[in-house]
């Protein structure tokens, strides 16, 4: 009796036609259909190049930024970190290295990181390199907590993705050495795409809460800030409408990114506009590595035809 009642109710709700297998089949297609691996090779190479350039550009300031007796001494940094956060002083302690040997230690960590990044660049022992790269990047993140900006966090996140995602299936030494033919699933691309949607959604939302992004003053303050100023842009004060338009464009671009980046019709424009915004950040605010890593992320997520046999790059 109970069974017949149930059947009749499902019939009335038109649920009888739902085929669970096809439902899961669609989910399976959405997440586990196979893609080619070129965009992940691009991600690996891009991440390695950005991190290498960043580390190369910081070499002469290692002691000032990360040293125990740098501008903000290590002990003062340490008390502002949770105990579980990795930092260079932990590694020094674990290895039993005395303070007097700090320069040698810092150089050792630095050159190890460079070596790891070169391995990542060429896709040699990639997962091991990514794991070690993540560990070392986290050490620098912890010890340099007072000096970090967005780019450092995105590089750590990229290492994490290089560790878990299939970044060495093509254009890598590993792919030549081990010749694995394991499939590359779409879910990894989806994760990066959704991650980017969160990045821009929250960036746009939090900017929209203020007033200065709506009237252009935020752009004015950003490009005129002493530390960021690349060019003399005081003339912009004469073009308030341009400043307002730029401010509102940033809000629209970021807040509506999740809405317009998925549909094919708007994808290319939104991708190019986003890459353009990051080029603007690099040129006018000197945040080169932050801009570069986000361009790598965007092109990886949206810039390739990922169908299994396609190799064409969209942008």
């Amino acid at each position: 009796m109970a069974t017949s009642n149930f059947l009749s109710s499902t019939r009335s709700m038109n649920l009888k036609n739902i085929d669970l297998n096809s439902y899961f089949g669609r989910l399976d297609t959405a997440f586990f259909s196979e893609t080619n691996a070129r965009h992940w090779a691009f991600f690996r190479i891009g991440t390695a190049l950005v991190a290498l350039s960043l580390m190369a550009s910081l070499k002469a300031d290692l002691l000032d930024l990360y040293g125990k007796y740098g501008y903000i001494q290590g002990d003062l940094i340490d008390i502002s970190l949770p105990d579980y956060q990795l930092r260079l002083s932990y590694l020094m302690h674990w290895l039993g290295i005395a303070d007097a040997q700090e320069v040698v230690f810092l150089n050792g960590v630095y050159w190890t990181y460079i070596g790891v990044l070169v391995c990542l660049l060429f896709g040699f022992l990639t997962r091991f390199a990514a794991a070690l790269g993540l560990f070392l990047q986290l050490l620098f993140l912890g010890s340099g907590i007072a000096y970090n900006y967005g780019g450092d966090w995105f590089i750590a996140n990229s290492m994490f993705y290089c560790l878990l995602f299939p970044v060495s299936r093509t254009l890598s030494i590993d792919s030549r050495l081990f010749r694995r033919q394991a499939p590359v699933f779409r879910i990894y691309t989806r994760v990066l795409q959704v991650h980017l949607c969160f990045v821009y959604l929250f960036a746009g939302f939090s900017k929209s809460l203020g007033t200065t992004w709506w009237n252009g003053e935020a752009i004015w303050r950003s490009v005129m800030a002493l530390d960021f100023r690349m060019f003399d842009v005081t003339f912009l004060a004469n073009y308030p409408a341009l400043l307002t338009a730029l401010g509102i464009s940033v809000l629209i671009l970021e807040f509506f990114y999740p809405l317009f980046i998925f549909p094919k019709k708007t994808q290319r424009f939104w991708l190019l506009a986003t890459v353009g915004m990051h080029i603007g950040i690099a040129v006018f605010m000197k945040l080169w590595f932050f801009a570069a890593i986000l361009i790598v992320w965007n092109i990886t997520a949206w810039g390739f035809h990922t169908e299994k046999n396609a190799v064409k790059v969209v942008v």
Partner: protein
């Protein structure tokens, strides 16, 4: 499809769901950092922030701790760059005087452009220290490093200041940017 493959795919799906949920919740929780900025925000923004605060308060502490731990090891962070309004830059000005009275004014002296690019982060870090003793220790640390890098320095003044930039219209009308001093720290070389 083999049972093992199905199970593996389920694990991957759950892992990805956890990862993306962490990113989402981290950013909801990060909105609480705007608490101090609420005074200057429009009422609609305050309402939205209050709503976000309620959501983040409803997340159990154990989950917040787990997410915090996970974020630390994966590089996940809040993405509210330059929000809600970019603040007036906080500057650290270092004025060195040698024994002959020669003066040099700089900021923390780095060797690379990228080092200087990180000054903003360092200045904000110092600005946000609430504990006066800790702030004092940090400024002593800056002073110690400066003496080490420039041994000829005798007296040292470290001035923290806000770089006030008038809005475009006021700037056009002739109001120029200026420094508003926040604190002054003076040091003299120790001679035993």
């Amino acid at each position: 499809m083999k049972k093992r493959t199905k199970l593996l795919r389920l694990v991957v799906l759950l892992g990805c769901a956890f990862h993306l949920t962490s990113i989402f919740l981290t950013n909801i929780i990060a909105l609480n950092a705007f608490e101090a900025a609420k005074n200057g925000l429009p009422s609609r923004s305050v309402k939205l922030l209050d709503a976000a605060e309620k959501v983040s308060q409803s997340i159990p502490q154990s989950i917040q701790t787990t997410i915090g731990f996970y974020d630390t090891y994966t590089g996940i962070t809040g993405y509210s760059f330059f929000s809600p309004d970019p603040p007036f830059p906080y500057q650290i000005v270092v004025e060195r005087t040698d024994a002959n009275g020669g003066k040099a004014v700089n900021t923390m002296a780095f060797n690379t452009q990228e080092g200087y690019n990180r000054l903003t982060a360092a200045s904000n870090f110092i600005r946000d220290i609430k504990n006066d003793t800790l702030k004092d220790l940090v400024m002593r640390s800056v002073a110690a490093r400066t003496y080490e890098k420039f041994p000829e320095t005798n007296q040292l003044r470290i001035i923290t200041a806000y770089y006030i930039l008038p809005p475009p219209k006021a700037f056009r009308d002739g109001n120029k940017q200026f420094f508003e001093q926040h604190a002054l720290y003076e040091f003299e070389k120790y001679r035993p």
